[in-house]
Symmetry: C3
Subunit: 307 residues, 3 copies
């Protein structure tokens, strides 16, 4: 079975079957990164453009490693060096890249919908690496892969997502994905960080961390975007941390075999205490490892093996 879509823009538009296909494929790629020679010729002669309008180490690096382990040529374009500084529109940038005949364009952009616009304009496969507060589908896929790897299934699990739900593309993509896959999703955070109509997405809402994580199988802590704190969403980091930091005390409320996840980079002592981040429940680094495999799977499914 192959992926029939041209692009990966969000989890909202992906079917359960497609998610399963992606996760199964990603599992088969995990092994490549543990070999002595971490390289397969699958995408030899393919060109992948990493077009990043927002700074990112891990996501860009993860995509670059994924491409290179599949033998593709990878080209990085970052906003600071881009024609965007000369006032070119996103569409013109994309059309110009298209004219150089790449096979896939991975895009991160601060504007929600930017990848969708590109996908309509150009013939190449577009992968959304994060668009504003909208979606971050590869993050949700690597999260689901990690859950399935550790728990054997996603359906029937209780997953608490904690933090600034309103501004989190990670939360949105995971809510779409986890509910599709049959998990029960709970969100929690200060009132101003919970979107008004979030229940419509099929989730339960709590305003206390302790209530949210009670008896759950998975706790997914979101990163507090400290760079956004000019907007003063909450009184202080200290106050946030007092109420919403996952630590050795409150984690006992969850199931004994709870998994702790975080999309990174973590703010130690703010949304998660160091002993929990580094402790036995944490699968944070497994998420990173699986991120490379998920991105290899998507690149392979979208632009590989056409023959």
């Amino acid at each position: 079975m192959k992926l029939t879509k041209k692009d990966i823009l969000g989890i909202k538009d992906i079917s359960v079957e497609e998610i399963k296909l992606i996760l199964d494929t990603a599992e088969s790629f995990i092994e490549v990164s543990t070999r002595e020679i971490k390289k397969v010729p699958t995408l030899r002669g393919k060109t992948i453009i990493n077009l990043f309008f927002e700074a990112s180490t891990r996501t860009r690096t993860s995509f670059e490693i994924a491409g290179k382990r599949l033998s593709a040529d990878t080209i990085n374009i970052s906003a600071s060096t881009s024609s965007v500084v000369k006032g070119e529109t996103l569409i013109d940038t994309a059309r110009n890249i298209e004219a150089m005949n790449p096979d896939a364009i991975v895009i991160r952009h601060s504007a929600a919908g930017a990848p969708h616009l590109l996908a309509r304009m150009v013939k190449q496969s577009i992968i959304n690496a994060g668009d504003g507060a909208h979606e971050h589908p590869t993050q949700a896929l690597l999260d689901m892969m990690t859950i399935r790897e550790k728990k054997g299934r996603i359906a029937g699990l209780a997953v608490a997502i904690v933090g600034d739900i309103a501004h989190s593309r990670v939360a949105r993509s995971n809510i779409y994905g986890l509910t599709k896959m049959g998990a029960r999703v709970i969100v929690a955070g200060p009132a101003m960080m919970i979107p008004r109509d979030i229940e419509r997405m099929g989730v339960s809402v709590y305003h206390k961390l302790e209530d949210a994580i009670k008896d759950v199988d998975i706790i997914m802590m979101l990163r507090i975007q400290m760079e956004r704190q000019q907007q003063k969403i909450f009184p202080s980091l200290r106050e946030y941390s007092n109420y919403f930091c996952l630590n050795r005390n409150n984690i006992t409320l969850a199931k004994d075999d709870v998994l702790v996840m975080h999309p990174g980079p973590i703010n130690r002592g703010i949304e998660i205490s160091p002993d929990i981040a580094d402790g036995p429940y944490s699968v944070i680094l497994d998420q990173v490892t699986n991120g490379v495999a998920v991105r290899m799977a998507l690149l392979y499914l979208l632009i590989g093996g056409k023959s």
Copy 2:
């Protein structure tokens, strides 16, 4: 036939036979970028340094893709990360790069003549990717390739180049190339944007767009460098646009099968109206596609197939 020069510094120094050789070779490389596996082993084991002292997405990306599709190793060095910030001279930078045994150095620099200086100092092939307001030979070559591809010839055609001729390396390189190849070249722009002695280069000068494009085969619109507008070359962008924006009305003065070209990135509504940029006369994206092929050809002719 091979290119006997070590470097590509400007169109002024290239013969008609050399231009034809480059364009013929570039045509043969067009096909590589449309294959399922866009890669030939021609430059395997060659090292190409992209040394950019001015920001550039498209030119750097075009060279990087060209190198990679020929299987060369490509290394990007940008001024912001370079030793230049530590006060090293251009010559020392170049000699240091030379000592690492690359095969070619692609250089963009804000100072006219910088690539020529390098070419005298180091043994490797130097390709000028734009030096100040002097020359941008690969742009002129891709422009000529595009004209020849669409019109079957260059000789005998009338080509209008419109905009800030005085500060445009694209204009200078194209004037050298197009007149050599037998085209009739017309330049147009506000008086302050036309160099005093430009007629000596074998071109006709007009100060009205309408006069310049009358009955021409090709209109080449230059980019208005808005970042330079501190210098206040003209009263306002609006005024410039009123007189020199190519649009659906004035384009009717040109031949029915006129081609519209632009080196990009375009300022929509300033030097070119969106409907013309995206319309049937526009070959702007063909220029970008041909840019990769021209750069593959130059790299191949300069450093490939020595045996």
Copy 3:
């Protein structure tokens, strides 16, 4: 014989036998960079991360070229684009990179000891590409390689290191290495640039250039870090230059076959006069060439040929 250590953190911890092994291996790699096809398949399928928290052209480029000529995949991460700007700790950055299964991490950092911290935290090989004012082992290795290449030996030679000894990681690594290899090391500089207890490292101290370089075989001039001159270590560059610039007059005090070395980038006319930098005694560009070979050797010895 193989290198048994996991990491290259400093010359202090490397044995004489290990230094000889590295230099012998580097010599055998010199030839690769002079071939028509400058590439061997030794590290195919290996992933090397260049993690640079300080700007650098030459060291990063040298490592990138070294990796590519061994057929490894190389990924560049620079501090400005890194999660570090989001407040992530160095350890979390390293662990995340580790989770993507690279084979080696090359790190440059302004904090002394940063590479050692990484080496303890992650399972991959760490190569120190310069840590604060502490060590720069690959520079010392390429310097020793250059001396051995030109003089046939290191033992018994007199080497003067001149400049800001106190703030120079190049000086420290060379002092460790050269004394281990049996050279006699002299350091010289203004009083404020000489660490109090430097004699304990087995060197002689002079405060006049002329005294230091008398009858030496090698003069190693250090770069004056002009970007540090806010701290006003010495009254003026002019005064420094009056007393410590190596020029055609004072160089006659050294042996007739003296070698002049400099880690670059050089400040012409400040620590070294242009005629000396470019003259017959200078092996500055040989150092650069040998830098690629030393880095190839280290990558090969650390992560290659495990089978």
